[in-house]
């Protein structure tokens, strides 16, 4: 039974909730079983926000994630908050501005990527960091096909921003392929 649990974290407004919805929708369109949920309330305003997607070949019963297979953090605060709820196999993806404690680097696979800077400087849209993140996450986990990811992105971004966001998605995937070289 293949089951992948993804936790995306950042600060309110960075779009990590939308990121998990896009991944979930793409995987669902590919015929997988999916769950998406997020923290609401004071926890979701400002400070750090958290959203989760579970993708599985089989029916998913429990709706929450205890220890994710992949933890993505776009801010230092969100990494600090969620770094301990992990298992030895958890893969970390963090923005390159974030300081990752040595013990995490020693024990886990950690991708440190310029997600926020690339959104600003390459895509020229700060708001595309979550879409870059989707490309990164899917390139590592392969929970959905690229075609389904692109359709899901177009389904959720504002009209007129489709091309920019598709470029962001592809840039995310490219970052991982370059990283692995």
């Amino acid at each position: 039974m293949a089951k992948t649990e993804i936790r995306m974290t950042g600060s309110g407004g960075q779009g990590v909730i939308m990121g998990t919805i896009i991944i979930a929708e793409a995987a669902y369109e590919d015929g997988k079983q999916v769950i998406q949920c997020q923290a609401y309330g004071p926890e979701a305003r400002g400070g750090s926000s958290k959203a989760e997607t579970i993708v599985s070949d089989d029916r998913i019963h429990y709706t929450k994630i205890k220890y994710p297979d992949l933890l993505l953090s776009l801010t230092q605060e969100s990494l600090n908050k969620f770094k301990d709820a992990v298992k030895p196999e958890t893969i970390f993806v963090v923005d390159s501005d974030i300081e990752v404690p040595e013990e995490i680097k020693a024990a886990h696979k950690v991708y440190s990527l310029p997600i926020l800077d690339s959104a600003k400087d390459v895509i020229k849209n700060k708001m595309s960091a979550n879409i870059i993140s989707c490309g990164v996450v899917n390139e590592i986990t392969h929970v959905a096909t690229q075609e389904a990811m692109e359709r899901a992105v177009l389904n959720h971004v504002p009209k007129g921003t489709g091309d920019t966001n598709l470029a962001a998605l592809r840039l995310g995937g490219q970052m991982i392929r370059d990283y692995e070289k």
Partner: protein
């Protein structure tokens, strides 16, 4: 709006889609977390299908407007959370005595008063049955998945129409805000019930039960004979009466239409209850943690666990629970897991009558019960 048959939806959104498939054409309410997406999607979707959405001045206005629409012949719904559910209680009683079909969604939040607006809870279980005063008929349905938000909302409307009663759709934040796959089954593939319409009451009176039916026929206001609608006990013409015999026969009929036909209303799920040693009774979103615990238990060498899940929580599937207790000779304990301080456990204890120990696993801190907590409780009590 996508017309795909399979869609990724939030539980709250699936309720609206199920309601529209069932024929809902009127929604009135006042938005409140964690039910707000129901109002939002109703506002978007109803105009697309020729229906009406009204945001009222408060929750009381919401249910009152929905009742008015129903009296005029439309299938109507309102949705709220705990604080609004308390405000709607008077009109739920009105729907019960005046026999007005309506679906009321309560997406529960933690605590009394305004409590914890965004945290899951199941503390309104008893209120859903007894919140409005006096003996009254009510049907309460609680979904455990986004798919059930769709299909069970259809059933909620069917029950409201067939029995002319208020039906409470009792949700929790776990399912209301969960996104998962949902099959948008089109109306032509569903069983859809409609109240029986007779614009002239077959020459009899508005509240007379005609041959072959168990509720009076219905004449939509504006399209049939006028009749009086009141919250007082009334005669067959709908006018108030103090007559004890008429009061008794009306109250008995209101209660009997549910209790005598409960086998058509009760619905539940049994998972491995035949030979389990511990049976967990749960409903709504809590069932997902219980199923998670069952998955974990299978990986370990753990006790045999079963799950009994009322989908219709009121009237409680009492006969089904009794049957398991009589036939399962391995059963050593029942644990009732719920996000409150012990409400369903009271009903289960009443039914079990001490034949096996019935223990509560309650939680009221605004977090969800986890599979680990379920397994720990089983071990502690074993």
């Amino acid at each position: 709006m996508s017309d795909k048959r399979f869609q990724l939806l939030q539980g709250n959104e699936a309720v609206v889609e199920g309601a529209i498939a069932a024929g809902m054409r009127f929604y009135a309410g006042y938005p409140i977390t964690p039910s707000t997406e129901i109002a939002e999607r109703s506002a978007l979707r109803l105009p697309q299908v020729g229906g009406k959405f009204v945001q009222m001045e408060d929750e009381i206005g919401g249910i009152a407007a929905a009742l008015g629409a129903s009296v005029a012949g439309l299938k109507a719904m309102t949705a709220t959370s705990g604080p609004g559910f308390s405000l709607k209680q008077e009109n739920i009683g009105y729907a019960a005595i005046a026999e007005i079909p309506i679906v009321i969604v309560d997406v529960q939040r933690e605590g009394p008063s305004t409590g914890l607006p965004t945290s899951p809870s199941q503390g309104d279980l008893m209120q859903s049955k007894w919140g409005t005063h006096g003996d009254h008929p009510v049907i309460v349905i609680s979904p455990s998945s986004v798919q059930e938000c769709y299909t069970e909302t259809v059933r909620a409307f069917n029950m409201a129409e067939r029995f002319r009663v208020p039906v409470i759709f009792l949700m929790d934040e776990i399912i209301g805000h969960l996104r998962e796959g949902c099959e948008m089954i089109p109306p032509e593939e569903l069983t859809i019930s409609n109240r029986r319409i007779d614009r002239q009451f077959n020459g009899t009176l508005a509240y007379a039960v005609q041959e072959g039916n168990y509720v009076p026929e219905f004449a939509p206001f504006g399209k049939g004979d006028h009749f009086n609608v009141t919250g007082l006990f009334h005669d067959l013409d709908g006018f108030p009466t103090n007559d004890n015999q008429q009061t008794d026969s009306q109250e008995r009929r209101l209660l009997d239409k549910i209790t005598k036909r409960r086998d058509r209303i009760q619905k539940w799920e049994e998972v491995e209850c035949d030979d389990c040693e511990t049976m967990i009774v749960c409903f709504g979103g809590t069932a997902r943690a219980v199923q998670g615990a069952m998955d974990e238990a299978k990986k370990q060498d753990f006790f045999k666990i079963g799950m009994f899940r009322p989908i219709t929580v009121w009237p409680f599937p009492e006969e089904a629970l009794n049957k398991i207790i009589r036939s399962n000779k391995h059963l050593r304990q029942i644990i009732v897991a719920e996000h409150n301080d012990g409400q369903m456990v009271l009903e289960v204890q009443r039914i079990v009558e001490g034949r096996v120990p019935v223990i509560k696993l309650g939680k009221i801190d605004g977090t969800t019960i986890t599979p680990e907590e379920v397994l720990k409780k089983i071990e502690e009590e074993y």
